[in-house]
Symmetry: C2
Subunit: 142 residues, 2 copies
């Protein structure tokens, strides 16, 4: 039976819940793949993944040139690993920042949510793949 | 003072030690970035990262087309995250397979080390970046 997009969203919410840091991989202009830890959102996944970023950071330059990114979630204690392939865009939206902000993010953004350089990365999820053992399952997003 | 390559290797050994699974990100022909968990080597890093793989797997196709890969190591309990940028090649070398094989790999390769499709991915490390807090440090490999 075909899965609806709502079913897929519910599955991905469950898979990434509780994982506080994901690795975001981007592609540089010479083809080098580069990753960095990103604090995951405190709110449930709604079809987009949201990450706080500095608008002036190097990864934003990379993303504006090449939108394809990968977000990987690792939960070694439960042997759960998730790969999310998607497209990233920089979003400067004060109301969305207010909505998604959590005081825990001050570890990464000590100036808090009123920092003028604070922005969001919005990842449109195209495909998720996950492992809870040697074989994987794929979730395609419409 | 300039770091020698031996110093850099020693630093990376220390950073990834004890992390049993890394996420390997590759680039597909349409630009999609895709990652999957990989069992890390049981022997110390010697300038190359080595992973067991099936020669006939989809990731090998991706790597033969585009050698740039990223290997990310996450140790959430110690808030340690490492990004390794490098170039991957498939290596079919029975003596190297014998040398690097560990019985623990049968979880991933149930047919064991004599499986005819078993091969190695050898990653030439170009740059490592690591976080043990909000800011990162870079290690460049010569």
């Amino acid at each position: 039976m075909a899965q609806t997009n709502d079913d897929n969203i519910a599955r991905l919410i469950k898979l990434i819940k509780g994982i506080e840091v994901a690795m975001l991989t981007t592609c540089e202009s010479d083809g080098t793949l580069h990753s960095r830890p990103m604090a995951t959102q405190k709110t449930d996944f709604d079809g987009y993944l949201w990450f706080f970023t500095r608008a002036g950071s190097h990864k934003v330059e990379e993303i504006e040139r090449e939108h394809h990114v990968n977000v990987s979630y690792a939960d070694p204690s439960n042997q759960r690993y998730v790969s999310v392939s998607g497209l990233a865009r920089l979003v400067r939206d004060r109301s969305r920042i207010d909505e998604l902000w959590d005081p825990g993010y001050t570890t990464w953004f000590p100036e808090g949510k009123d920092d003028a350089d604070l922005a969001l990365l919005r990842i449109t999820v195209q495909r998720a793949e996950y492992w809870e053992g040697p074989s994987s399952k794929v979730i395609n997003f419409g």
